[in-house]
């Protein structure tokens, strides 16, 4: 079977530019030639795969001064950069708050003469031999303060402070 004329028609067939008469000749050849039919079908499959990718949204891009203004994007579409860092910032903020609260719950709280419980947060360190003492206290109003008193712990800060801080935060919120 002579496939040479079909080779010259292949690009037009795939590009949808064959005339009706040539299309008839082309398809008649494919019906009887496995090799040409395979070439045509696999290339067509490739074109379908390329066209199957989602295209861009319809946008208009305008220049205003030295800025580009893009119109047509949905407001809720998250940017890659914002999504990447939003989670990290929240996590970091949560850790900081939890550690701070953890330290606060391990501090001595003093009951004032008028029944108010007050303390103030300050950090300091004083070495006594091999131990490190950490002094701190928290300034809080009675109605927001936890009712239990805790002892001052002489120890290094650790993960348990984070856990206790998280629990304390939940207790205060209630």
């Amino acid at each position: 079977m002579n496939c040479e004329p079909i080779d010259s028609m292949m690009a037009d067939a795939l590009g949808d530019e064959l005339s009706p008469d040539d299309r008839t000749v082309f398809e008649a050849h494919l019906a009887g030639c496995d090799k040409c039919r395979h070439e045509y079908e696999t290339r067509l499959q490739t074109i379908k795969a390329l066209r199957g990718l989602p295209g861009p949204r319809r946008v208009t891009i305008q220049r205003r001064g030295n800025r580009l203004v893009i119109q047509g994007l949905p407001e809720s579409q998250p940017g890659v950069m914002r999504v990447r860092y939003r989670g990290l910032l929240r996590y970091a903020a949560g850790l900081l708050i939890a550690f701070t609260a953890g330290y606060a719950t391990h501090l001595g709280m003093m009951m004032g003469e008028d029944g108010s419980v007050s303390s103030s947060i300050s950090y300091g360190a004083d070495h006594q031999g091999s131990e490190k003492m950490i002094f701190a206290s928290a300034q809080m109003k009675p109605d927001t303060l936890q009712s239990s008193l805790v002892n001052v712990h002489i120890r290094r800060p650790g993960r348990s402070d984070l856990a206790k801080g998280l629990i304390a935060m939940l207790a205060v919120r209630r």
Binding site: D12, L14, R43, T60, L68, P78
Partner: protein, 175 residues
Amino acid sequence: MLARIASDPPESGFELYAADVYGWAYRLLGRHHDALDVVQDVFVKWAQQCARQEPQHPRGWLRRVTLNHAIDKVRVRRHGSIESDEAIVRHTHPAEAPGQSMDQAVLRADIAKALDRLSDSQRSVLVAKIYDDLTFARIAEELDLTVSTVKTHYLRALDVLRAQLRPRWDDQEKL
């Protein structure tokens, strides 16, 4: 959404072609912000080119430069981990099933790898035919080539893409 551009491109080129440039870049990259980066870079190049001599066929020139920049961006991205690509795809396509988004991302990566192996002309012909739906005659005029050369480039480009995508189809058939 606003982005800053380094210089003022000629009004006519930018206003006419910015959306097309964005579309070509998005096809290859699949990410809005990456496509905008390419738009920015391409029109800086456009301004520099127009300062020397405006291209005879602006659209053809812009398509070629856009594809080159998009391919470069894919090369840079390829050095990152697959896990980070998965996470990014999941975040930028929240409405789609994660599996489907990942499949599209992998398909885009395969397509970009194959396009990277093509010459500038072959790449431009393929994109112009598949996505812009231009006739071979029109493509030949834009790229200053003969029609038979354009057709040869088209078939060659399809063959390279086919070779890259064939393993995916074979795997799908096995399933």
